[in-house]
Symmetry: C2
Subunit: 201 residues, 2 copies
């Protein structure tokens, strides 16, 4: 077993929009206005917010940019319960929206009903490609992460995602952060079995 430290990134509920959906909510030819860069390179919190309308209540959600191929609403389970979404949407890796529930989204210039795209994010570690190779971590590998403190927790079933566009960071949602009483920027420990790969010669 190997151990390595990782900074925690806490994701509050948010939405990714496709360019089509962005234009239906904000107007033809609309472009997002970056408000604050996120820790993952090229990603940002936009100035724009939308209202996500559940069966019981609605919530304002920050739009994250840039736009993506598919619109996706990422909620904590607490948020899904608050909105009245039943059953609770599945725990999914980002982008994996097959057979997930849809929802109504309202923007300043329109309202849409997405047929699918509401997920609870599967906790995961953004791993830069060179770091993954060095540590013996592969894309979609499952590892454990320990968070210390008064509410110390071992998160099992943590998904490794590898890309040369990623910064090393452990992403959890607000329920997971509050259960462990950790916040953005706190340090946790990844525990894993390195995968041996055939060395290129």
């Amino acid at each position: 077993m190997k151990e390595i430290k990782v900074p925690i990134g806490v994701s509050a509920r948010h939405v990714h929009l496709s360019q089509d959906d962005l234009e239906r909510l904000f107007g033809k030819g609309y472009e997002l206005h970056p408000h604050k860069p996120l820790s993952q390179p090229g990603q940002y919190a936009a100035e724009e917010e939308v209202e996500v309308i559940g069966p019981k209540r609605s919530l304002k959600l920050r739009v994250l940019g840039p736009t993506r191929k598919n619109t996706q609403v990422e909620l904590a389970i607490t948020d899904a319960i608050y909105l009245g979404i039943q059953p609770i949407p599945p725990i999914r890796d980002s982008g994996d929206v097959e057979e997930t529930p849809g929802i109504k989204i309202r923007g300043p210039l329109g309202e849409i009903e997405i047929p699918k795209g509401v997920i609870i994010a599967w906790r995961h570690i953004h791993t830069p490609k060179d770091m993954a190779e060095e540590l013996g971590l592969v894309d979609k590998q499952i590892v454990e992460v320990k968070a210390e403190g008064v509410r110390a927790v071992v998160f099992e079933n943590v998904l490794i995602r590898v890309s040369d566009k990623f910064a090393w960071e452990f992403h959890i949602d607000t329920d997971e952060a509050n259960a462990a009483f950790v916040k953005n920027g706190d340090i946790a420990t990844v525990v894993f079995e390195p995968v041996k790969l055939l060395q290129k010669t």
Copy 2:
């Protein structure tokens, strides 16, 4: 190490009232009306609700009965953030309210400001006395609890509480339940080192 199964009890935010505070909120000589028995013997959810008023927002909280010596407001961290309580109230064992924040509480007949009593509950296992003796568990012992499933988690720092008035149950709040994607009545596994006590002869 020893392992034993335990049913999970999920506590949503709630309030315990002293008889004095109950009367200041609901009227002189008022008595709680039991609505639904809870899993711990003699405890019940009352019909009564109060409004807890934080710096930013307020929330309706169910009153649990019977009345207690001290008024105590139990929140999930998500609730404390929603109400705008800063810093986050400490993680405490029930009844341990020294140096905790106070809050404004509104009932149908009055409003009070408690000087202390807002806590985030320390996760704990209600352990009947005879079962504790049989298993080698002692009051205030710290154990681990594993919850299985897609969001499998090991909760460390779980407090054992022993009483002949308790039913065997692992109590967590809504943040902890949602982080592990478990619900009321699900089964978890306690992992512990039995304590050897001097046998009475």
